[in-house]
């Protein structure tokens, strides 16, 4: 398969960037999107040019490193998968594909398609945990958790922190990311002791980082590679009411 790529190139955080057009040829339909970029980069390096910088690591959709806006869709046209899991067979031969970095004020561009998502870590550090020291835990079966609660908590816990929710949200909101953690810990008895403080602190940090507010477009749910439901945002909102009103 052959493709025309328009890729966002930007030398550093402060530089102006622009879309640059490249062509790649003879790509196997079974190649992943990142492997297609590898091939492009090998060609560029052979020509002595700098390769396109993009974040990636596990290449099996779990580490959350990769994340590209591909033809106007976070992680590309295929639902429920990360960029690294996207195969070129999802495109037509001779397609033109525009590739851009995640765009949000709290995700400044480092280089080309690499953005800085450490804002997520700061949100997590603001209470996205259960305060239990190593060694303090009671026997694992001392805390029974109904199966449906554990399953729902797991539905939220599968978040890979890739930032697709922010990237795709028209408001650059991180609500689905925050909700996934708040909801997971609200569903489990272990998280209850700190639930009020947690939701307040994490949301305050989210606002301080400069993420937008949720306007319930549900675009995040549609583009989330792990298909985390906006139901968890509803639960976060309930947690917020519980914390601020009761």
């Amino acid at each position: 398969m052959n493709f025309t790529l328009k890729i966002w190139r930007q030398k550093s955080r402060t530089d102006e960037g622009k879309l640059v057009t490249y062509t790649v040829r003879d790509i196997s339909p079974d190649a992943s999107f990142l492997e297609m970029l590898d091939i492009l980069n090998e060609t560029l390096v052979r020509r002595g040019e700098e390769p396109v910088a993009f974040d990636h690591d596990c290449r099996e959709g779990i580490c959350g490193s990769c994340g590209l806006m591909i033809e106007g869709r976070a992680h590309g046209p295929h639902r429920g998968s990360a960029t690294c899991e996207l195969r070129m067979r999802s495109f037509e031969d001779d397609d033109t594909i525009t590739v851009e970095p995640w765009r949000a004020r709290p995700f400044p561009i480092i280089k080309d398609l690499v953005v800085d998502r450490t804002a997520f870590d700061r949100i997590m550090a603001a209470g996205g945990y259960v305060s239990v020291k190593t060694g303090q835990a009671p026997d694992a079966n001392a805390i029974p958790v109904p199966k449906h609660c554990a399953e729902k908590a797991m539905d939220a816990a599968v978040c890979i922190g890739c930032g697709a929710c922010v990237a795709t949200c028209p408001n650059g909101s991180a609500m689905l990311f925050v909700a996934a953690k708040v909801s997971q810990l609200a569903l489990l008895p272990q998280g209850h002791a700190e639930r009020k403080e947690r939701v307040g602190r994490m949301l305050a940090q989210m606002d301080a980082e400069g993420f937008g507010a949720c306007s319930n477009t549900y675009a995040c749910e549609a583009e989330c590679p792990k298909q985390i439901s906006v139901e968890h945002i509803a639960r976060l909102n309930r947690e917020f009411i519980r914390a601020k009103v009761s």
Partner: protein
Amino acid sequence: MSKTTSFLMSSVGRKMIMALSGLFLCSFLVVHLYINLFLFKSDYGVEFDAYSHFMATYPLIRPIEIVLFLGFLLHAIVGIWLWLMNRRARPVKYEVLKASENSALSSRIMWVTGIVVAAFLVVHINSFFITSRFLTPERSMFVIVREVFRNPWYDAFYVVALGFLAYHLKHGFQSAFQTFGLRGTRYQRLIDLVAMIFWLLIPIGFAAMPLYFLWAY
């Protein structure tokens, strides 16, 4: 920080104010439509005028009107505030963005539908509320309505604006319940049903009036 300040300072708190004020305005729509339905009664507006008179003169109504007006104002101001905050969150736009693949148009253009509804309100209040309350309080409200709705251009604007209101409510009503954390619970079906009444039946009810006076009356 007190609970109230931290509530207001939070983006989620502000969303809740949007939801709360929005639902409050929706409740007004119900009352408004209920009274207006008397326009269709074949009594040459006798009962409708009686209600109008009651609304204009009963002392308790005035404070309610003020609260209603403040509700509009609050909804608009917090809406603009959030809109600005949301715009700031993405200073550089995407070159290519296929938003239609992942979300409903109604959810993405609330600010457009909101502005149109606000403009409509200005015209609407000028045509009916200002006229009847301040300019010619002695005239029959029924007659005023009939006169205004005989103008096809006005009616066209009115119906289109109601279309925008419907679109605004299509997203806004269920969105408010999501904000309160009630969607995705066992109330989901009930909410979707009530939402349908609000975004579909109520605007149709209102839109029926100008058309009735234009063609049927």
